[in-house]
């Protein structure tokens, strides 16, 4: 069985971001980029399944500009067997990513598609659910535990939901999105990084896959959240009602 993992190159989580002066987005020039932490967890899970002997191959996919290849190389260094890079000149919205993934699934035929639950730059939390919908596959999102049963061709997923943990049993092929507590990703060791240089990365363009890149969304403005104002101590309930009605306009 093949496992496909989608990874995204995002601003590193430890970097202090700032908004561009023209408010069109977050400053990404000269800023450290790395693999989305949830994607790392997804890749780690795929690698563990492969190491348990339940899968033959792990394929990492990334979409975007040429520098995505860095993220794919990291995936290969962690242990993925092959990389696929879909070149796209612009930021892709989750629906487009899902459509492209659908075409790639058609080419590669994986038994399991694992993604991070969301990317830390846009926090959309949409791609996994959309691709499951497009493919008609069962989905186990926010996974905190994944157990694959190869014989029965099912995967049991513990999901972190608001009420606690929910356990689902999904028929393969399925889509899983990973949450933080699923595993601790491994480090890419130096010898593996060196070996990864010779692993293949296949390039596609969206045209080849017959996917039209059009965005239904337009980013109008990006601003920093307003600075927290100091709290105000009130002296009576009447004052509170007055402020809630006339200043905060919530009643």
């Amino acid at each position: 069985m093949k496992i496909m993992v989608a990874v995204k190159r995002v601003v590193d989580y430890a970097v202090k971001i700032r908004v561009k002066p023209d408010k069109s987005g977050v400053e990404t020039q000269n800023v450290k980029m790395s693999m989305n932490p949830f994607c790392e967890i997804a890749l780690e899970e795929a690698l563990r399944i492969k190491e348990a002997g339940l899968a033959k191959e792990v394929v990492a996919v990334s979409m975007g500009l040429a520098n995505c290849v860095d993220t794919l190389r990291t995936s290969l260094a962690m242990g993925a067997d092959r990389g696929i890079h879909v070149e796209a000149a612009r930021e892709l919205i989750p629906l487009t990513v899902a459509k492209i993934l659908k075409k790639l699934v058609g080419v590669e035929n994986p038994g399991l598609l694992i993604l991070g639950k969301q990317a830390i730059d846009d926090d959309c939390n949409q791609t996994g659910q959309m691709i499951a919908g497009l493919l008609g596959w069962p989905q186990g999102t926010f996974a905190s535990k994944v157990v694959l049963d190869k014989e029965k061709q099912v995967v049991t997923v513990d999901r972190e939901v608001d009420g606690g943990l929910e356990t689902l049993c999904l028929d393969l092929p399925a889509v899983i999105t990973t949450d933080l507590r699923l595993n601790q990703p491994r480090y890419a060791t130096l010898p593996n990084i060196m070996k990864a240089k010779s692993k293949p990365i296949k390039k596609y363009t969206p045209e080849e896959l017959n996917v039209e890149i059009k965005s239904d969304l337009e980013v109008v403005q990006v601003t920093e959240p307003p600075k927290r104002k100091a709290g105000v101590i009130l002296s009576s309930v009447d004052e509170l009602i007055d402020k809630l009605r006339n200043e905060a306009h919530v009643i």
Binding site: K16, K32, Q184, T189, L190, P191, I193
Partner: protein, 637 residues
Amino acid sequence: MHRFLSISSKSTFLRNRKQLHLPFTCPISCATPNGHSCFHYLNQKSASLGSRIGLHRLFSSGYFPNRFNLREHERDGNGFLRLKGLVGEVRSFSSEADRESIEYDVVIVGAGPAGLSAAIRFKQLCQEKNADFSVCVVEKGAEVGAHIISGNVFEPRALNELLPQWKQEEAPINVPVSSDKFWFLTKDRAISLPCPFNNKGNYVISLSQLVRWMGVKAEELGVEIYPGFAASEILYDAENKVIGIGTNDMGIAKDGSKKENFQRGVALKGRITLLAEGCRGSLSQKMMKKYKLRENVQAQHQTYALGIKEVWEIDENKHKPGAVLHTLGWPLDSKTYGGSFVYHMQDRQISIGLVVALNYHNPFLNPYEEFQKLKHHPSIRPLLEGGTVLQYGARTLNEGGFQSVPYPVFPGGAIIGCSAGFLNVPKIKGTHTAMKSGMLAAETTFGVLHEGSNMEAYWDALRDSWVWEELHKARNYRPAFEYGLFPGLAISALEHYVLKGKSPFTLKHGKPDHEATNVARLHSPIQYPKPDGILSFDVPTSLHRSNTNHDHDQPAHLRLRDPNIPANVNLPEYAGPESHYCPARVYEYVPDEKNHLKLQINAQNCLHCKACDIKDPKQNIEWTVPEGGGGPGYSVM
């Protein structure tokens, strides 16, 4: 060519650890078998490591007594001594059964200006002479440039020799120096002084960006660069020759046990190993101690300064690209050497910083707070008002110059760049000399590998080069300030305008920095103003801007040789100076359950500046390298 060695077979360890105390002048220290603290292994039960449990590191005294009493000590060009073999020390070498070993022809520790210049130069020579040698550069920062911070007014002399086409190849060197000012600050005023610098032909740059570009150039030439890997130990063969470095084990928890993602470090073996770790490099320090590299050429101890810097984005109409300003005086007093700088880069960005020499006397001095004070000076604050801080960082730099350059060659390799110490203090520039030292080492290394010559030729090459000439001319400026600020200025003026570097004497450095701290009862605590959040900030806010991070679940990389000294010496006698000088608030004295003040080490904050390793009065703090990939994330510093 490098090839992978499969996991080496279990070989016997030489287990003898003897510490010999020869007459006091040369204490020898014996490291653990792999030169690496064995803290990691405390919890392991495996047989081969079992005998390591309970052993402790033996450290030499850590400072070099100032034995040089001659007033007119002249460093003679051909007066160096051959390296003496170590007497009586029995070495044990590292050959763990479970560590992978990769071989290269040249291994370079540190992807900074010196390391990358060496790598580039070496590959250029390979291309010229059609030789095929492999070069590997390991860098502890998460990416090339992440740990690079410098003023920086760049003199392109070395780059012109290394990559003459840098302009066409779009090096990030775009802002020529347009004005050069020098002020003496008092609390309220700024007095213009004649500018002692000549920055014609120099550029205002971000060194972090330049190093990033150099990394790309190096990779184009076939250099393999691996950021995120920290060289934590030196590897030796049976004859005590350096054969490479070992990287850190990753995935060890705070208590020393292995986490689920534990990865053993890797042994990177090189026929020649070049250490380019920057100022006070941890491995370089070990080399200098072990092979007595300073004693061999009668070099003085190194002296240091701590530089704290911010990059601001300011109002368009206040920004003058290429403007260079240096100041002396306030907020530092006349007994403390140091000064500030403001450099205007491009894109409305400016670098502003304060450099404080670490031989200051007052244990309560807080260089970070002095820097915050500086920004409020009436001549500085208008520039910053309306601007935002982009990044913050701090790093020590060497000021010892000519008198402190050690013999930079050890069996199996050499020390290059600021790890040896080639900064030209009166020019306040060290990048060009660091790069040149890397290039000279590369040329010697190529000679060694290609023609079988000797690495000792590097020392000769250094002394024949413009680096030596420059450092020699600049040698008296900094030591002159041992006599105080105004005598120092007077002697410097004499050197600069009258003697022009031809002085017949060579002044000496005073005490080593850590010995210069007075006891706390001779001073009173300094009251620093509270940060206003607009021009001045508290440490956590600034730290956030340095993008510093370490995996918190790892053993603290700041080691106390004697865990009792902070409570018994540092706190009562010196009022805990580490809690004052550390620019990242790593060291804090907090009350424990019994309400006694105890030292708490917040290693996760560390900016890798090395101030604590330098300034701790009893040299009790040892900076060791944490897991690779941690530390600051500078991009425009």
